[in-house]
């Protein structure tokens, strides 16, 4: 008895969870069954500590929301001429969050976009190359298991101090892992973020996003039904890699974590590419009942989730599973997280057609079982039943435990509020501006991530518009699977400033959602839905859980305001080092709470494509949105001044919506030459970034109304730098005045040099040199 409890606890189960298992089975579980529950009820698979809150997030669109309507309230229901707005139905969610492997959104023309983000933080902390590579593999399988062909990937990475050897080791490994896998797989990596802070030193974050396209009527579901239908395992053979990987991802990283190395999987992008092609062919054949990739928790997870969804059972013969090594135990086969595998349930009588397709692609395709009406999973090995479990009892929404956790506000939160801008000496001279701008442009959080992204194939698919036309979000052409010239694009981005979220989880997360939408809008898209990757510390720590709850509340508010529902995502807790001491360890050992937002936008008219670069000298530069006397949480304050504790930057949701709607309408009226949001580093950095692409400059003036550092380097939100042709100034101003949108003229685009109040702060070429080369020199030096 004690022995069983001890085993259960070693597998990561709580005593009350063992009691629940006994109650479900009406007997004591054997080791195989206990292992199955331990992975299926791990945080990673069951979301047991987060699901209560995830359910509060908006899951559907409310009409057209703010898009396509006039800001000033007139004509609420009819879009003004030329102001856009997607046709009815487009942007609608086609599956509910959590129902399939990824979210699915109608993008018009009979097509839908499947998209999702997922973390591979824990594996990447130990084995950065394979950890990151298999993260890319996993997220892409989630997309193509639905029948969608992936067309673009993004990733968001967080590391510690980039001058530290561990950071360089992790970063080289992660970037090469993402590159080697994604490049061979043949889906372009079109954007992403890299952010450095000491808090990510032990626990780097590696979140991978993928988006794919399918014809709406050809979606494959992760379900199983039809008594007697055969169950196939396809793709790679099963080995001992990644066993208990899901459980591993559900604990803190400690000095002993290296012993979990076998829990890290090994990827093979070549197999994945073959699996992609074969899977899409099989789905197109119409013989498939359901299909699910094997990621976390392998065979046990896919059999359980598909059976629970289809309300059927399965009888599986584990002796038939192709194995990589001899003498694997039944529980090892069930839990293995060997990559590039799928479970496919096929209509009885169509077995040969399926076998032929996988034979064509030289892949394993083996019938390992049959669908039953028992709603139970019965696993056999060597002729004996080794596990017999009700499918429903294993899964989220079924028998998996759900916990409501307590939380409490950490002491740092109030301390951060006490920050007073007047304690910071105001820089006033050009020399000081030069020093600060030089610091920012050569700061790895702001400098170009060229060293990273040039290692990724960003152009395969001949659909990425951003190669030669930089924008705040990636614009990716959608080619119709039926052929013909492409006529629409998806606009995608991933964003989250963890420092803001740490300072104020609710506001910081609103900012993350809004920044991602702002980026989509600036690139010419209409934001339609998000996926999220919630990276937090140990949920049993009350203060970490406070961060989590605040983040969800903020996300809900921002998503409702922007009419961008949540289609699903991933929760990654335990991004925290060493939890000795009180339950759940110390919030200060956790990473910044980092709820990464992946935003999907649709551009159904390619004429709306808008870039961030200034086009020619003489164009006028305006700021849409309002400058604030605020330097809180800015890169300037944090790393130049050296003040680590301050509140989140100024943010107001209504102002934000107004700014975004203005940019959205101005683009559709054809009034903008460029649009670039003011983000990390503030206004001067945004202006510099708009200048680099065509080697132009700018001349602007500061204002008497506020401190120069707040104006130039503050990170107050809801602001966009635009450039316009002088002949369009009247129309531009008329729109903004009519709709009551804050704006200010900043100056003009010039041939060279960054000038503030008539003095050159930096010449363009010098600034560009710093911006382009800093990270590479850091990594290669």
């Amino acid at each position: 008895m004690n022995n069983l409890l001890e085993t259960a606890q070693k597998l990561g189960l709580l005593p009350e969870e063992l009691d629940k298992i006994k109650e479900i089975l009406g007997r004591e579980p054997n080791f195989t069954e206990l292992s199955a529950y331990s992975v299926m009820w791990s945080e990673h698979c069951s979301y047991k500590n987060s699901i209560v809150w995830l359910k509060t997030l908006p899951k559907s669109k409310k009409g057209n929301g703010i898009w396509g309507k006039q800001v000033n309230g007139a004509n609420e229901d009819t879009p003004p001429a030329g102001a856009g707005g997607l046709p009815s139905g487009v942007g609608g969610l086609l599956v509910e969050a959590g129902q399939e492997n990824a979210g699915l959104v109608d993008i018009g023309d009979g097509l839908a976009c499947a998209f999702k983000i997922e973390s591979h933080n824990h594996p990447s902390a130990l084995e950065p190359y394979q950890g990151a590579a298999t993260g890319v593999g996993g997220i892409n399988r989630d997309i193509f298991t639905m029948g969608a062909r992936p067309i673009a990937q993004l990733n968001t990475l967080r590391f510690g101090n980039p001058t530290h050897e561990r950071t360089k080791f992790l970063m080289r490994g992660v970037v090469k892992g993402i590159g080697d896998y994604g490049n061979a797989f043949g889906v372009p990596t079109v954007g992403g973020e890299v952010f450095f802070d000491e808090c990510y030193h032990t626990n780097p974050l590696v979140n991978a996003f993928s988006a794919g396209i399918l014809e709406i009527d050809k979606m494959a579901s992760a379900t199983s039904y039809g008594v007697g239908n055969p169950v196939f395992i396809v793709g790679s053979a099963t080995g001992k890699d990644g066993i208990h990987g899901a459980a591993f991802a559900s604990k803190d990283i400690t000095a002993d974590s290296i012993k979990d190395l076998p829990a890290v999987q090994v990827g093979d992008p070549f197999q994945e590419k073959l699996l992609l092609e074969a899977s899409l062919e099989v789905i197109a054949s119409g013989h498939v009942i359901g299909m699910q990739d094997m990621g976390a928790a392998g065979v046990i997870c896919s059999t359980a989730e598909m059976s629970a969804k289809g309300e059927h059972g399965m009888r599986i013969d584990l002796d038939k599973v192709p194995l990589r090594q001899a003498n694997m135990h039944g529980w090892e086969i069930l839990l293995s997280e060997s990559q590039e595998r799928m479970l496919v349930v096929v209509k009885k009588g169509q077995e040969q057609a399926i076998l032929d397709i996988f034979e064509k692609w030289d892949l394993n395709c083996v019938e390992i079982g049959v669908v039953t009406d028992t709603k139970r999973l019965e696993f056999y090995q060597h002729g004996e039943m080794i596990a017999d479990l009700p499918a429903e009892s294993l899964v989220l929404g079924g028998g998996a435990p759900v916990y409501k956790r307590e939380w409490s506000e950490p002491a740092y939160f109030q301390a951060f509020q006490k920050f007073n801008i007047n304690t910071v000496a105001e820089p006033k001279t050009t020399g000081e501006f030069t020093k600060i701008l030089t610091h920012l442009l050569s700061h790895p959080n702001i400098a170009s991530k060229r060293w990273v992204y040039e290692q990724y194939d960003s152009m395969v698919g001949t659909a990425n518009a951003s190669t030669n036309a930089p924008a705040d979000a990636a614009v990716v052409l959608v080619k119709h699977p039926k052929g013909g010239k492409a006529n629409r694009a998806i606009v995608i981005t991933v964003d989250c400033n963890g420092r803001y979220v740490h300072a104020n989880p609710e506001i910081g997360t609103m900012i993350a959602v809004c920044e991602s939408a702002r980026n989509v809008v600036c690139a010419g898209g209409e934001p339609v839905a998000i996926t999220n990757n919630l990276n937090f510390g140990n949920p049993y720590n009350l203060e970490v859980y406070w961060q989590f709850v605040g983040a969800i509340k903020g996300m809900k508010m921002a998503c409702e305001a922007l009419n961008t529902p949540v289609t699903g995502g991933n929760v990654s807790f335990y991004n925290q080092s060493s939890s000795v001491g009180k339950a759940g360890g110390d919030v200060n050992n956790a990473v910044f709470p980092t709820p990464t937002i992946g935003m999907l936008g649709v551009m159904d008219n390619l004429a709306y494509q808008t870039t961030l670069d200034f086009k020619q000298a003489g164009d006028l530069i305006y700021l849409v949105g309002k400058s604030q006397e605020d330097i809180a949480c800015s890169e300037y304050l944090y790393s130049y001044v050296g003040i680590k504790g301050s509140p989140a930057p100024h943010f107001n949701l209504e102002e934000e919506v107004k700014t975004q709607k203005a940019i959205y309408d101005l683009i559709r009226k054809g009034l903008l030459q460029s649009a670039h949001d003011v983000a990390d580093g503030g206004l001067l950095v945004a202006l510099a970034e708009s200048s680099f692409h065509r080697d132009l400059g700018f001349a602007i003036a500061t204002t008497q109304a506020m401190r120069a550092d707040a104006f130039l380097f503050g990170e107050a939100q809801s602001r966009v730098v635009v450039s316009i042709s002088p002949e369009k100034e009247a129309d531009f101003l008329a729109y903004l005045q009519q709709n009551g949108v804050h704006h200010a003229k900043l100056g003009t685009v010039t041939k060279q040099d960054f000038a503030v109040d008539g003095a050159v702060v930096l010449p363009t070429d010098m600034a560009k040199g710093l911006y382009m080369n800093t990270l590479g020199e850091m990594m290669e030096g």
Binding site: K176, G179, D180, N183, A184, F185, G186, D268, P269, F270, Q271, K273, L274, K360, W361, D362, E454, Q455, Y456, D457, S458, M459, V460, G461, T462, N464, A465, T467, N468, A469, L477, K479, G483, G484, K485, A486, L606
Partner: protein, 227 residues
């Protein structure tokens, strides 16, 4: 002209080439499966980029043994056109249809970016519309793109005017600073002696679309189609 685009397991630029030829240029194009042994009457065979057989063993080393390759060989011997891009170029050198070899980039990293190419000869189907020493922005995306040939081969390539493109500066200067992979003589693309088999590491099909903001590559494909 009828085009055939070969699909090996691991090819990933096949669809891009088909899209360009069919949707942008309005040509007849078929995909040729590597296990087949017929070229279906194609006049022009494209060996596309990607990671055939996962680049395992050595880029292009396994693909050359695919069942369709002897047909490609015979097609080339008959004077039929063959164009290999990136992994396709690697496969054609492995198959002996083009001279030299492609080694790991000297900096040992995979690199994807726009580079500048200088056209070195007008005496090929692909480059006939490109004025001598004219300059084109074309992307590369490879880890094994360092062209290598021994001195005798190099001299022979020169002598027979087989070098199609070299990496250069935006102003057209061929120099080491803009060599993206350590390729000998900055060579980016060559043809065979009979001038019907072409290979290049850069991807002109990724620079042939208005939406992509770069149509420099289109000039090469339009030259193929010109009567």
């Amino acid at each position: 002209m009828k085009f055939g685009v070969i699909v090996f397991p691991g090819s990933n630029c096949d669809d891009d080439m088909v899209y360009l030829l069919r949707e942008t240029l309005g040509q007849q194009v078929v995909k040729l499966w590597h296990k087949d042994t017929s070229l279906q009457g194609c006049d022009f065979v494209v060996v596309p980029g990607g990671f055939s057989y996962g680049d395992y063993l050595r880029s292009g080393a396994i693909a050359r043994f695919s069942p369709i390759m002897p047909e490609v060989q015979r097609h080339a011997e008959r004077g039929g056109y063959v164009l290999g891009i990136c992994n396709g170029f690697q496969i054609l050198t492995e198959a002996g249809l083009l001279e030299g070899a492609l080694l790991k980039n000297d900096h040992r990293k995979y690199t994807c970016k726009n580079v500048w190419l200088r056209s070195e000869t007008q005496n090929t189907l692909l480059t006939r519309n490109l004025p001598a020493q004219s300059i084109y922005k074309i992307p590369i995306a490879h880890g094994d793109g360092r062209y290598y040939a021994d001195e005798a081969t190099l001299a022979s390539l020169q002598e027979h005017d087989q070098i199609m493109f070299r990496y250069c500066t935006e102003a057209g200067k061929v120099e080491e600073s803009v060599n993206p992979n350590g390729s000998i003589g900055n060579i980016a693309g060559i043809c065979n002696k009979s001038r019907n088999v072409f290979g290049m590491m850069p991807h002109p099909e990724r620079a042939s679309e208005l939406f992509l903001g770069n149509e420099d590559g289109l000039k090469m494909f339009q030259a193929i189609l010109q009567k």
